[in-house]
């Protein structure tokens, strides 16, 4: 096991956290939608991709500065999420749980097809939100830890979003109402909470989170209709690892998966996904509700 000590652990973990932030943001959107609307969506990655294309159009065609394009894209995603809820999910949820899951898979396929039709399937470069030399941290005379500016931005954005959303769900009346709707829809209606509008908001915020992810992933992974494939799979794994009902769990799960990915990818690149999922299976065998999840008690 000599190789264990020769690995550049510090750097791998930093890379893993930067990568894991992207998984965490995507997982967060999935859990958010699941918690507020009771739908496990398989369209989160594609919502992110589509918003990234919108951002690309604003940046590249309309030549808007990055912050302006960023905000406009967020507004677009918020609306897109609300429309998805209003037009598709509200109807789909009248049926069984399976119906709504299938509808989200259909949504993913439609979004990929539309993006391909509008922007084409070629791989495009996406402008970096920040440029400049990477940060260097000297840990020993012979070793520096490297953090690119993009990774630093990704980390900072993830952290700020988590704190904002945490405060929103804990302290704001609308945030508390969103949690209430997820727990008991009928009781929420009896409190005068507009359940449909809250669900639309859940999808809107989820899609906006996806948009942030898309805009942060596109600079490294480039922009193309299937750009989120690998990230989305890892994000689902992260969401499940953390316990699908727990927002902090989604973050922990996403970050953990990023670190595993980074370490395993360094040692055995061809096995990194296999190793990540093997660990996922082991965790779920030991803790079926996930790391921070609560075992759900559903009344029949």
């Amino acid at each position: 096991m000599a190789w264990l000590t020769t690995l550049p652990w510090g750097q791998l973990i930093i890379n893993g956290i930067a990568l894991g932030s992207l998984y965490a943001l995507t997982a967060f959107g999935i859990v958010l939608i699941y918690k507020t609307t009771d739908v496990l969506t398989f369209g989160q990655g594609e919502l992110a991709m589509f918003s990234a294309f919108i951002a690309f159009t604003l940046l590249d065609r309309l030549k808007l500065p990055f912050p302006v394009a960023f905000v406009l894209t967020l507004v677009f995603a918020l609306g897109l999420g609300a429309v998805v809820e209003r037009v598709l999910m509200r109807r789909a949820q009248q049926g069984s749980i399976l119906n709504s899951i299938i509808v989200t898979i259909g949504l993913a396929l439609v979004l990929v097809g539309m993006a391909g039709f509008i922007w084409g399937y070629e791989v495009r470069p996406f402008p970096d939100p920040v440029t400049g030399p990477p940060f260097l941290f000297r840990v020993s005379p012979t070793q520096n830890l490297v953090l690119t500016q993009l990774s630093a931005v990704i980390l900072a954005v993830t952290l700020v979003l988590m704190l904002l959303l945490f405060a929103f769900f804990r302290f704001s009346l609308v945030g508390i109402a969103m949690r209430a709707v997820a727990q008991n829809r009928v009781a929420a209606r009896l409190m005068g909470i507009p359940v449909d509008r809250i669900n639309a908001l859940g999808w809107g915020v989820g899609a906006a989170l996806g948009a942030v992810t898309g805009m942060l992933i596109a600079p490294t992974n480039s922009l193309f209709p299937n750009m989120m494939g690998d990230v989305a799979i890892k994000a689902y794994a992260g969401a499940v690892l953390g316990g699908i009902t727990s927002l902090p769990g989604a973050v922990v799960g996403g970050l953990l998966l990023g670190i595993i990915d980074s370490v395993a990818g360094f040692q055995a690149p061809e096995l990194r996904t296999t190793i990540a999922f093997t660990l996922l299976v082991i965790v779920l065998v030991i803790r079926p509700a996930g790391l921070l999840g609560r075992r759900e008690i559903k009344k029949v």
């Binding site: 949690r179 009928v186 209606r189 009896l190």
Partner: protein, 237 residues
């Protein structure tokens, strides 16, 4: 003065199954009206129609002088109808305080909300002690208190209670019934669905007996208690 609540020939369905056939009843402002009957008689359905959870297929619901049977549950909360559903239905993963705060979701009058919160804590001191605990960790009786307290936070003019005594120990049942009377004393009108017919008739001003989706009998508590049918079916005499 016309009654606060009036149901006229209400009919309601769950899918193809007719749950209410021809229900007419009324509740005068400031009264406690008991809704009695066996399981499946239509008591819960009647409450669901009044609070807007179920739209009637025929008939009229009049509340405070206007037709309301086509309004949404959200709109009816704003008009002052609060429904404490069967099985309490609190939000288990929200704290007691958050549960109560959601009761006032539709309100913007901060002073009134604070006053109602103090009123709820005065009625149920235990809720104040447990304000930071998750609703799901409360005992059954405390959850019932929370459900009623949460409904009172809407500042209701009409309070619908579905089986508030279900599964509670006798002492707790007495406490709940004391609160119901107190709430009425503060001006609210109460429509009470109960299996515990003795207790319900002891505080009610008027009662209706439902059977298979229609009103079989109605009258003052004394009249109902004296009725041979009621005695045989519900009072175990």
């Amino acid at each position: 003065m016309p009654p606060l609540l009036q149901l006229e020939n209400v009919e309601a369905h769950y899918g193809r199954i007719r749950a209410l056939k021809d229900v007419s009843l009324e509740a005068a402002e400031g009264s406690i009206v008991a809704l009695l009957g066996a399981n499946g008689a239509g008591k819960t359905t009647t409450l669901r129609v009044i609070s807007g959870l179920l739209r009637p297929t025929a008939g009229a619901v009049k509340y405070a002088g206007q037709r309301v049977e086509r309004l949404s549950a959200e709109a009816l909360v704003r008009l002052g109808i609060a429904h404490v559903p069967e099985g309490r239905q609190i939000f288990p993963e929200l704290t007691v305080g958050e549960n109560l705060r959601l009761g006032a979701y539709t309100r913007r009058d901060r002073a009134g909300m604070e006053q109602d919160l103090q009123r709820v804590f005065a009625l149920f001191p235990r809720l104040r002690e447990r304000a930071l605990q998750h609703g799901g960790t409360l005992s059954g009786g405390e959850q019932q208190m929370l459900a009623i307290g949460r409904a009172l936070m809407t500042h209701p003019r009409l309070l619908l209670l579905d089986e508030p005594s279900l599964g509670l120990a006798p002492l707790l049942i007495q406490e709940i019934f004391r609160v119901i009377q107190e709430v009425r004393g503060q001006g609210a009108t109460v429509l009470l669905v109960e299996q515990n017919v003795h207790m319900a008739l002891s505080i009610a001003d008027y009662g209706y007996v439902l059977e298979t989706g229609r009103v079989m009998l109605s009258g003052a508590p004394d009249q109902l208690r004296a009725n041979a049918e009621v005695q045989r079916s519900y009072l175990g005499a």
